[in-house]
């Protein structure tokens, strides 16, 4: 290998590079990986039972392989992934923390995983108690008055929150027109506002990266339904004037929505409910440790103040006079449903298991997360440009200004080189208000040793970027595939395997 060699890499193991084709290519008629118990009722004549609807030939193209081939195939594929279980995953805003295995165990228990959402409430008291306890815990953590556990993800939580606001304002006589969103917000915020029927007005941050409160005062009119704020912001900075921001909105009859993506900085320390927030969502797959699983499932409960409670999605968990729990769908003011059934129950189980393991000690997790972020900030200050110098909470955002100036290496190059050092990249190019952002969120799950290795790796890459920028620009060098052409992939996607070999999409 030319250029700075990889001998400085202290942590990484070589990325597995064994070949593995598509499962469809291993198929051969007659192989089986699954057998059913024999049929114990008379064999139906499918052709006469289904008539013209009968699929006589089965699903064409479906694989025919044996059990060992299935196990090997997916095990090999798994080795091509990076994962929290392999090392630090400093993706800012994503809160990639340890996913406790006991959570997986309890979510799969017979009596938990086996339960049907339409079974009678009297046979679901266990499930309902789980939901009730999780509701209580999340209300205690957020300082809010009421909560719905139905939304399947953070973005669906955002939508639920805005629909609650909309229904509330409609009840006041006018749903209003606009939702204000800071330029540092998550991309889902503006998309959500539009789907809830609102126009989006962006607010520019002031020079320290905080909401410009004076400007906000001018922007908040009777047309504004809500402000969607992320606190701490995506810069990892606490919005110091949030109580004042809430007052400005409330004075004009507008509400304050908080994107709870960064609750890992506040849990046990401060409560959005005390800060004047009217409604917020939580990402259970971030703060409450449910596994990301390569992109879901998540869960996005929405906590709210009393004024929004009548509009909660149905069904609503209620406690009856005899102490039994029940699901109540008779709520005339409800916004309806955002997802079928009772939400991602299995995810909710895992989140409760996480909370029970910590109890009030969850504050220590928050403290360690903030400690790690500040330790990394201290370690890399001066090596990388820090565009906003206000104190960091759970994450720190650098920029690639220094590296770009001395050799043209950008945040994406540095991120890709980090892969060679055995780390997952940080979040690149976000938040949008920082050109060339390096957004780093270590979470509480990293030891001092892992943080030190990360700092060393980042320093080493900074040196490489100065000495041999081309080498960094072509990273990663140790993975089984090198940097991919994402633009062409998005423009000319091949979305499936085709038996003929030549995909139609490729043409």
């Amino acid at each position: 290998m030319n250029g700075p060699t990889n001998k400085r890499i202290e942590k990484a193991s070589t990325h597995p590079s064994q070949n593995e084709g598509l499962i469809f290519e291993k198929s051969s008629p007659g192989k089986r990986a699954f057998e059913l118990p024999p049929l114990d009722v008379p064999d139906a004549n499918a052709s006469s039972a289904l008539g013209k609807h009968f699929r006589a030939d089965g699903v064409s193209g479906f694989p025919e392989v044996s059990e060992i081939e299935v196990v090997r195939h997916f095990t090999r594929l798994s080795t091509w992934n990076y994962a929290i279980d392999l090392g630090m995953y400093p993706l800012g805003s994503c809160t990639m923390k340890y996913n406790p295995r006991v959570n997986e165990f309890v979510a799969r228990l017979d009596g938990i995983a086996s339960e049907h959402p339409y079974q009678p409430d009297e046979l679901s008291q266990g499930c309902l108690k789980i939901l009730q306890l999780l509701e209580k815990c999340l209300l205690e953590i957020t300082g809010m008055d009421a909560i719905t556990l139905q939304p399947a993800a953070g973005a669906q939580g955002e939508l639920t929150g805005l629909l609650l606001i909309r229904s509330y304002l409609e009840r006041q006589g006018n749903p209003r027109k606009k939702v204000l969103i800071p330029d540092s917000a998550h991309g889902t915020n503006p998309a959500t506002a539009v789907i809830a029927g609102y126009e989006v007005e962006n607010i520019k941050s002031e020079s320290h990266g905080q909401i410009d409160v004076e400007k906000l005062r001018d922007l908040v009119t009777e047309e504004v339904a809500a402000l969607m704020i992320t606190n701490p912001s995506t810069l990892g900075i606490f919005e110091e004037r949030i109580p004042e921001i809430a007052q400005i909105l409330h004075a004009k009859g507008a509400l304050l929505y908080m994107d709870g993506a960064n609750m890992n900085a506040l849990t046990g320390i401060a409560r959005p409910g005390d800060l004047g927030v009217d409604v917020m969502h939580l990402n259970l797959h971030k703060t409450f440790s449910t596994p990301h699983g390569g992109g879901g499932p998540g869960a996005g409960p929405v906590a709210m103040k009393k004024i929004l409670e009548p509009f909660k999605p149905v069904p609503v968990l209620v406690e009856k006079g005899d102490g039994k729990l029940a699901l109540d769908s008779n709520r005339p003011d409800s916004i309806g449903k955002v997802r079928a059934f009772t939400g991602n129950f299995g995810v909710l189980v895992r989140a409760l298991a996480y909370i029970l393991a910590y109890g009030s000690g969850v504050r220590q997790a928050t403290e360690d997360a903030v400690l790690n972020a500040n330790y990394i900030r201290k370690g890399l200050e001066g090596v990388y440009d820090l565009p906003y110098s206000l104190p960091s909470l759970h994450e720190v955002v650098f920029s690639d200004a220094i590296q770009k100036r001395n050799g043209g290496v950008n945040t994406m190059d540095i991120a890709k080189r980090l892969i060679d050092y055995g780390f997952h990249p940080y979040t690149t190019a976000f938040p949008l208000i920082v050109p060339g952002a390096l957004m780093i969120e270590p979470t509480e799950s990293e030891s001092k040793e892992e943080c030190d290795l990360f700092i060393q790796a980042m320093k080493s890459i900074a040196e490489e970027a100065a000495q041999d920028p081309e080498f960094v620009k072509h990273a990663p060098h140790t993975t089984r595939v090198s940097r991919l052409d994402e633009v062409t992939a998005a423009r000319k996607p091949i979305l499936r395997w085709n038996p003929a070999g030549a995909s139609k999409a490729a043409r």
Binding site: F24, F34, L36, L39, D40, V41, P42, A44, H53, F54, R55, G58, E64, T75, A83, I84, V102, R108, G111, I112, H116, P117, P120, L123, S124, G126, K129, G187, A191, T192, A193, V194, I195, A196, P243, I269, G294, G295, P297, K337, A340, F341, G343, F345, G346, V349, A353, A357, Y358, G359, S360, Q364, Y375, K416, I419, E450, V481, W497, K504, A505
Partner: protein, 422 residues
Amino acid sequence: MRYLPKSPAERREMLSAIGANSIDELFECIPERYRLREALKLPGPFSEAEVIDYFKKRASENSVGYTSFLGAGVYNHLRSVITDTILLRGEFLTSYTPYQAEITQGTLQAIFEFQTLMCQLTGQEVANASMYDGSTATTEAALMAERLTGRRRVLVAKSLHPEYRDVLKSYAKHSGLLVEEIPYAASGMVDSKSLHAALKDDVAAVIVQSPNFFGVIEDVAEDADAVHAAGALLVVAVTEGVSLGALKPPVEADIVAMEGQSFGLAPSYGGPFVGVLASREKFVRQQHIRREKATSNICTNQALCALAATVHLTLLGKEGLREMAHQNLSKARFALSELEKIPGVKRKFDSPFFNEFTIDLPRSARIVNAELLKEKIVGPLSLGSLYPELTKTALVCVTETTSRAEIEQFAGALRRALEKPL
């Protein structure tokens, strides 16, 4: 705390490296009067054994020991231990959304295989990487049809899952989409007369489910001609994916929205499941790069559930799925024949079905179910609360997991329940 990898000495060392005297200093950016002085009132901390004990107690308060005849969008099917073995590999379980393609090729290839399997099942040209569930996939299909046609009315069969209709209405309410329901005919299928009458040139999509909420297989091919003649798109929703092992795929549909729970995912009291969106290739396009111009606010998919479906369907393979579907077909027919022997029990709709069917009872299905519960049977879904005209109708689901003995016990218990004086 066992999840936190730091000793007190290491914490002190790190604080001193930062130049802070105490951890509280790092939180001084939060105005003091908003900082909590007291510990949160949360149960715990619990050891691993205590956590397990808590959930085992809750599990024992649920339906363990009961036999269920519920389906209605959530199905009990055999699942191989292999699926969970793969899912629990940390490389899949604890990986993020595959934004860094170089180190997520495993997840990406699995999704590619998922998309291929979904195309093969549904007969569509392309499929996406998954949605939250069947209800949200159906909603996205409607929104997609609105954009593709530039029209705002959506006709929805009343035999589409009631909760799917509810979710669609929540999303449609503020995006200017008009949702109109089309009644079902005496056959249990969508009423083609009403459908034809409503099919004007402002209709973006017609949404039917097959097998529909009553278990009845819709005549998708016939619906498609009328829908296309009006310039609208046909969306076919599928809640029971296993049916596609025995049923012709809805190739005439423009968009298929499917719930994939039947493919290796536990009922889990309603989720997490996996939605599938499959369609014609010409509808594929890139999401708008401007955030407020985005057409969906969905950020991630249900990758791990999609992986479960991929592993499960790979295990089943062509023959396994065919056999599973065939067993469902056979058992449901056996159950119907046993139930029809009971005086007063009649099949509601005389149309082809897969593993669910509706029966009319001589008295309220809700009251009958209360009797069945006493014999440890979770009876078929009473339709009265969802369809006020169907208080005496129940939706029976029988899958390959229901044994002949259980079906016979159910028939016996139902007979006894109906013999009881009111």
